[in-house]
């Protein structure tokens, strides 16, 4: 079940949880997004994530449901953090489990790509010279 939360997540615990949901699971693919220390030539000190409470969670649940019908996966899960996150901190975790690895790889990549396009979450970058909202859609 999709989650948006301020607190950090435990990648090992989340991975074991999704793997343990079915005896048919043969693969769990994960994508972890973390804060890097540069953006467009500027040093980044931290990021601040804001979301639309309610709508962001609903859009994430829709994405998970679409992934479950689109790919031959057993389950999937997306966890996105909000608030201020320092360099190297965890931002987002996407997990997909399947019987065989190709479906889990495909679902994981599709989920993070669609999240960026469809889930109402915004990122502010803090540099030494100030801060600004990231406006460009990747």
């Amino acid at each position: 079940m999709a989650r948006i939360q301020e607190e950090d997540f435990d990648i090992g615990a989340e991975t074991r949880a999704i793997a343990g949901r079915s005896g048919r699971t043969g693969a769990v693919v994960s994508f972890l997004g973390v804060v890097r220390d540069f953006s467009k030539g500027e040093d980044i000190e931290k990021l601040d994530f804001e979301h639309y409470p309610g709508m962001a969670e609903k859009e994430l649940v829709k994405l998970e449901n679409e992934a479950r019908s689109k790919f031959d996966i057993i389950d999937c899960e997306v966890i996105h953090r909000t608030g201020e996150i320092a360099v190297n901190g965890n931002i987002v975790l996407v997990l997909a489990s399947s019987m065989h690895r190709p479906a889990a790889f495909d679902a994981c990549e599709w989920l993070i790509d669609e999240l960026k396009k469809r889930v109402p979450i915004w990122k502010k970058e803090f540099t030494r010279s100030g801060h600004h909202w990231v406006q460009d859609r990747p």
């Binding site: 994530f49 109402p120 406006q135």
Partner: protein, 83 residues
């Protein structure tokens, strides 16, 4: 009454995060945003720019989307979740 909610860059530029607006019958998102801009004495282009998205009751709509009594209208700047 409809409630307008702004996020991220739009909230900061407009100078407010939410506003309750009285409705005289059904209106469009465009009507609500024009009313809000007038009330806040800001340029309506801050709330109706090309790159902005809109939602009514947390479902995506266009500027001509219908707004009714007690609806929640949101202006969403370009999304930038993930990494």
């Amino acid at each position: 009454m409809a409630r307008l909610i702004l996020f991220a860059s739009v909230r900061e530029r407009a100078g407010f995060s939410q506003m309750d607006l009285p409705l005289d019958g059904p209106a469009t998102v465009r009507d609500v945003l024009q009313m809000a801009a007038d009330k806040a004495s800001i340029d309506s282009s801050l709330l109706m720019g090309d790159s902005l998205l809109y939602a009514v009751n947390q479902e995506s709509v266009f500027l001509d989307g219908v707004v009714e009594e007690a609806d929640e209208v949101a202006v969403l700047p370009p999304l930038s979740g993930g990494v």
